[in-house]
Subunit: 682 residues, 2 copies
């Protein structure tokens, strides 16, 4: 859909094109010679400038700026900005003690080095692997997190080691008990962490999910009949470049190496009045702390977005496989380390799904009925963070959804070893450690305009006792709304007993009927507490995860709540959100605010999750409340509607748009239709 011609003007929020990335590579190489490209990504326009242009496209179009991170010889890291049209570098800053994101190419290097390293070979032999079998040794390259013995001046990874006797085996069933540390600059292993108690290689038979493994275990089931989903007249959405219009919604779909999908400038056409709702919505960070305190497992708490990138790790999606129906895909372009282009084909999938009943009412007194079906729009990506994939959906009514699947991280275990409750033996010799997946959704609110206020809403019983005149029968309850006037007040946790929600309100726009402010309500129920303790390494590094909600005043460039460069941060001081919150005194009342929401799951593994884990979904809702004058979907054509007068006239005039495709399961008939909605009373 995006024209390739040079006279095409990209939307200011479009990701950098291949041509733009190539242009930046040329500019940087010319100025600074050979170096390794870590990031070349859109430096998003300042909000003030972009807002002006969005409101009036005849004002100057924001210029295209590239955000550049490079690693120069000697491991020197530079942050830069490049003005693409001018061909000039406007910022070039040497960083000290900061390590940028770990690219796929860097990750892939580790295994090759491990296999050839004499000390690693020695440890493999100790585990019972002959040195001629080193091609059967694999490693999951991981961020090292932070290891105080090694600090952050040297660019490191840790290698979680596995043996795989057959190349097609699931890798995670023969974990090794030692952990090499890899120096990316020297491209070598600089240390190996070896536990005091050694665990020799498991002799257990492999269990596999590939066809040969399934055949061995009895073969595939053959009793699933196909379900086909077709859209013979095409899709109901329209794309203009990366702007999508669908069912009164309009927004721009961005994508970067870090957050993956970004939804920008989300508006809703409310009967001709185009109302802003969110300026920018994205998954901004996540952390996966593991709960085993034995050294060096404390280092397992990857920040999958800040340390690997949801964009960099995006899967290339395929029709009918990852999604069904009529699909539109968007690709993603990134630089390679050496200055080439890497394209992820079909990185984003856009499609519609039938979503069951939207609303229904039937009246048993007169047999009138209305049934209207729902539709949702899915903007999806799947990214692999070493051993998990996340299918992220953000539907039109704004329902971020994450599906966890993939393979558990595992560690070696001796027969009869006590897990101490820090993990579960999911297969003989395989210990899967407890962990959490904590995601941070960044909500840059724009509810009917930039000035918003966040309230915490708790459903509470009246304080008046049973038997008192104000609450004689004891049934009184209402909502207690707590306004967040300052940043400090906003750091709040979930309370399931009060059905706690957080309301992003425009207090300048009161609803004509309810008198309440126009708002979007954050309804999120999977909100575990950060289990690493206050003052722990994870607590220090993942400041965003200390509470379910934090609200800050909008600032350009405050995008990623664990900091801009996450690998090897010590957490002293805590970067990102804790810095931005300052002493907490800043006012967030009726101003441009950003809500940071941390949610997720605590995963105590079980054998059912092995060797591959069935999907575990996590979902939350952003719902309009007191925003629309009334139900905004009454104009969705119903499948069937009969009014009392039509029923009385024997069905004359009823609306019957019932799907004629559906069939009875065990006959060829199409079943009775709804024209007789009778419940059998006569």
């Amino acid at each position: 859909m995006v024209a390739a011609s040079s006279d095409f003007l990209p939307h200011p929020l479009d990701p950098l094109s291949k041509e733009e990335i190539q242009s930046v590579i040329g500019i940087v190489k010319k100025a600074h010679g050979e170096l390794l490209f870590n990031v070349i990504s859109l430096h998003e326009p300042r909000k003030a400038e972009l807002t002006k242009w969005l409101e009036n496209p005849s004002t100057p179009r924001p210029t295209r700026i590239a955000d550049v991170v490079v690693i120069a010889p000697g491991g020197k890291v530079y942050d830069g900005l490049v003005d693409i049209a001018l061909g000039s570098i406007t910022k070039w800053e040497l960083l000290d003690g900061l390590q940028p994101i770990i690219t796929m190419e860097e990750l892939m290097a580790v295994e090759h080095v491990c296999r050839k390293d004499p000390k690693v070979i020695e440890q493999c032999e100790f585990s019972g692997i002959p040195k001629e079998n080193m091609d059967k040794v694999y490693c999951d390259p991981w961020t090292i997190g932070y290891d105080e013995r090694h600090g952050n001046k040297v660019r490191l990874q840790q290698a979680l080691m596995y043996y795989r006797p057959n190349v097609d085996d699931c890798q995670y069933q023969y974990p090794l008990d030692f952990c090499p540390i890899y120096d990316a600059e020297r491209n070598e292993i600089i240390a190996i962490d070896i536990p005091k108690v050694r665990r020799p290689l498991s002799k257990m038979q492999a269990i596999n999910y590939h066809p040969a493994g399934v055949e061995k275990a009895g073969g595939y089931r053959n009793n699933l009949k196909p379900i086909n989903i077709t859209q013979p007249e095409g899709v109901s959405f329209k794309m203009t470049g990366r702007e999508i219009e669908w069912q009164n919604w309009k927004f721009h779909i961005g994508f970067n190496y870090r957050e993956g999908i970004i939804l920008n400038n989300i508006t809703f056409n409310d009967k001709g009045n185009v109302r802003p709702i969110f300026y920018r919505l994205s998954l901004a960070e996540m952390v996966v702390p593991y709960g085993n305190p034995e050294h060096p497992h404390q280092r397992k708490h990857a920040f999958d977005l800040g340390e690997y990138g949801a964009g960099y790790m995006a899967n290339s999606l395929t029709l009918g496989c990852d999604c069904k129906g009529s699909i539109h895909y968007l690709d993603a372009d990134f630089p390679t380390r050496a200055g080439g282009i890497r394209t992820i084909k079909n990185a984003i999938c856009i499609h519609e799904e039938d979503d069951g009943i939207l609303f229904k009412h039937s009246d048993f007194r007169d047999d009138s009925v209305i049934v209207t079906r729902a539709r949702k729009l899915i903007i999806q990506q799947i990214f692999t963070a070493a051993n998990y994939e996340y299918a992220i959906q953000q539907d039109g009514t704004i329902q971020p959804e994450i599906k966890l699947t993939g393979i558990l991280n595992t560690y070696a275990m001796d027969p009869n070893e006590d897990t101490h409750g820090w993990g579960t033996q999911v297969y003989p010799g395989v210990n899967a450690h407890n962990h959490q997946h904590l995601f941070c959704l960044r909500i840059d609110a724009n509810v009917d305009g930039p000035n918003n206020t966040v309230f915490m809403a708790d459903a509470v019983a009246s304080e008046a006792p049973v038997g008192s005149p104000e609450n004689y029968y004891g049934n009184a309850f209402s909502v207690k709304r707590t306004k967040f006037s300052t940043v400090g007040q906003s750091a709040t946790d979930y309370d399931g007993t009060t059905s706690r929600t957080w309301d992003i309100c425009n207090t300048n726009k009161l609803h004509p009927y309810s008198g309440k402010p126009a708002s979007y309500k954050l309804v999120s129920r999977e909100v575990p507490r950060l289990l690493p303790k206050e003052g722990s390494l994870v607590w220090k590094r993942a400041g965003f995860a200390r509470h379910a909600v934090h609200v800050t005043r909008y600032q350009d460039d405050q995008l990623w709540p664990a900091g801009r460069h996450v690998p090897q941060t010590s957490g002293e001081p805590s970067l990102g959100l804790p810095e931005w919150m300052g002493d907490g005194s800043e006012s967030i009342d009726n101003t441009d605010v950003v809500l940071w929401h941390t949610f997720g799951v605590t995963h105590i593994p079980a054998p059912e999750d092995f060797p591959i884990m069935p999907v575990e979904p996590i979902t939350l809702l952003l719902r309009p409340r007191n925003f629309f004058s009334n139900n905004p979907v009454m104009d969705v054509p119903p499948s069937f509607c009969s009014t009392p007068s039509q029923v009385a006239a024997n069905g004359v005039g009823v609306t019957n748009a019932t799907d004629k495709i559906s069939k009875l399961a065990f006959t060829n008939g199409s079943g009775d239709c709804c024209t007789n909605g009778t419940n059998g009373l006569s």
Copy 2:
């Protein structure tokens, strides 16, 4: 599917057939003359007897017994049992101060009486309705709950009054402010509750969701293209009578007037070993307390199952309208009051749905990938409880799901009247009161056998401080399991901060790898506290709603946790669950237990819910943990699978069962296929 011939032997759990109901009617009429039939429903076989027969069908087949409730002249209520084969009444008991469920016929009578009652007409005139317009006065007939002025000797309903100037208008926009009380025995209005402050009829223009109303407001949107769901080879399930087999699952689908769908004798064929999981699963009760303390609104706290019945209120479903694809329906038969038969055609809908990704893994080092799609089986009913419908889904992996839609209960409101926070003005003159929907799921557990034990599981941080040898980096966390040894210990609430779950365990079956008991975990996140206070009328009547979980020892006939006969109970004493819990000392350790789970939502209305409410879903999961030896769905054929060796051999041997039906949105091509799973790295 059920043969009509007389030699067909029903499954002992099949609902009573038309013929059986008719036979019972004949037997009762012969013995007791003319009376009103309230209930004729299967009296389920005793568990001991049925279990014996299920294990060995050559043992005596449990006899068919009908549970009968009738109302005899003078309002006398009788509970009876009828042995159908013997044609004999084995129990016939006069009840005192108990009122049985309110049938649809009884509900429908109220409006007719109201329209003709002089005192109601007088009140309508006072509200501004001329007496010649009484045909435009409607009422929602409601259970009276409990009103201490009227007690429970007389069978009552309350009439929530509305004016509807046009027969096709949405009824709920012109509420009237008074509330007649209807005596079912005398078929007349015996009192009217009239508020001190009167609210005249609203003059606001009507807002309507019917086609004429939508046309007036600008018409239907015309930009939705169809999505078709087809199953050209039919369904993947098999029905034998009311027993269903699907994807290793087998269970019986029951249905009664009270709970609607009942899933019985749920088993899973685990590689040839048929393992029991649940003996019986059903939605057993619900209560909807409203939060406005002003008299007589405290009476609004309907027990939709105990007072109206999810079976009696079931909608007749229609193909392509309520569900899409290939559908199998089951009808429901009930007696009419006078002794006829009322059939709800298509009361239960059974169908499959594609459910996105079941599991996926891709390895960025070797480009191997597996994607397997999920399928779910939906057993669904929709029931109307006066102004709500609930679409209940219970899918194969056991995910009870409720979708709330329909129309808000509303009350009259003067312009500028203060709602005191007990409700929201959703439309001028229309006050929708705060309320909760609290459902009670009855889980009659049978996890690998009848003797089960329930544990509460909380994810908690280690108690060892940061810096201590046991928790140096502060990341240690594990699961704290609290065993419920007695009934009293089991009364527990939800705790979102610890991701609390409840595990139904068979402590006699330890997993060979994890060493943990075979279990099903209850994962439920929509668990608000009962907001009516301790000691309040609702708290007394809805004992089950005091806590999220209660566990009792199995007893035949302990089915409905607010008691067998719910209308007009005073809550003194609390019937049902509080009775059965006794002093709480009974052991529930390693025995036949029933878990009662209360969940739901607190609904603070907003204008978006009016005049008809878009669906609000509530879902929970019953998940196997440490039950299967490993992932039990590895034998579901993948859409696509390539192993590392196949990728290395340029794709020779890969499994490609990708759907060929899906299409690109904006071209006619079928898109690139997965054979090249490359992420673009080279």
